[in-house]
Amino acid sequence: MNYGYFLGCVMPAKMPWAEKATFLVAKHLNLPFDYLKGTLCCIRPGVWKAINPDWWLLLTSQNLALAEKQGVSIVDSCNGCYISHYECLEEIKNNPQKLLMVNNYLEKIGLKIELKVDVKHFLEILYENLDKIKKNIVRPIKIKAIRHLGCHGRKHGEKLPNYFDEIIKSLGIEIIDTPYDRMCCGLLLYLSDPYTSVYRRAGLKLEYIEKSDADCLIFICSGCYDQFDRVVRIYKDEKGIEFKKPIIHLSELLALSFGYKPEDFGMMYYRPISPINLINKVIS
């Protein structure tokens, strides 16, 4: 089945370089990969499930129904979107009454779920193609990095964390372990406890990276990026502290390792921390 890439809210508006790099990588690997079209917010499980689980189920299922209609498997690289779609599908698969409830509403807008849809994380697709990735590396990425997978990537076991590490290592990157590797970025906490969210979660990790030998922070989850982006700006605007180590999406490093130039995916634009030092190190 073809893959329908789910953009979500953050990627198209805040990290277009990652969106472009992801499509360059997918094309380079000859994956049957295109946009899932007409998508909406995933819808954020951390907020909506807390307000009303049936509303979350209902609104999330519109994306699942769109994928079924377009005949594609949903592919998410944001862990929040992945968990939302994955858990919604599991729930309506295992609970016929919920499926009926969802379809009652979807039929009013000309959609229906027949449970033919599948939900995959982008890391799963990359890992299935790991041999192909290794064969396509023309520029090994000789850097040291700290990685941030994000909580929802760990929710269903160690599969995704292992894939994330394996893929990073396959590019030639040396991973630096830290005491904060499993710590939440603080995205959802921001709504209720902004100080802890900013200064005791993402901020703590960014401060650690600054003092370490790492060249950058590698991430995959758009939700976590949203938080890191916000925290970098808050440190700068409210504390006068500027971080120097950039926050880099895994797809960007894959694209660079395949021989693409930073300008092929706009790596320099619209970033909270300039990646120029990293680019110079990788390209040289």
Binding site: C9, P16, Y105, F265
Partner: protein
């Protein structure tokens, strides 16, 4: 002694403020039509209640109801997207409006809009 502790706690609280969050909260309050605190002075016997949509999430909810996604694509982002080699507007509900209209229909049919007390015309929450 107690007063000193209170003062210390106050100072700690001041340190703990995140201005960006307070701005977000303020904009959430601006998305509210009726202010319960003001109303309680006019109608002192009226009970205060906790609205389904907290002020801090109202800006994101409002965008979700109007765009279908949490973040809009403005002209500045359109230009950056183009520089990155992408279409100026992504093929999401940002450009495929049918999806947005369908979502709005579900939100209305399921009573979500009413429960969250959202006024479609004013694009604000009653409380």
């Amino acid at each position: 002694m107690k007063e000193e502790m209170k003062e210390e706690m106050k100072e700690e609280k001041i340190e703990e403020k995140v201005k960006a969050w307070e701005k977000l909260l303020e904009s959430g309050i601006k998305f509210t039509i009726f202010n319960q605190n003001e109303e309680s002075q006019l109608y002192p016997l009226r009970k205060l209640f906790r609205p389904s949509a907290p002020n801090i999430v109202k800006p994101a909810l409002q965008r979700d109801f109007e765009i279908g996604l949490v973040y809009p694509i403005d002209k500045n982002i359109e230009e950056i997207r183009e520089k990155c080699g992408l279409d100026r507007i992504p093929p999401t509900a940002h450009s495929i409006k049918e999806s947005l209209y369908n979502k709005i229909k579900i939100i209305e049919e399921a009573g979500i809009k009413d429960e969250l007390m959202y006024d479609k015309e004013k694009k604000k929450f009653y409380y």
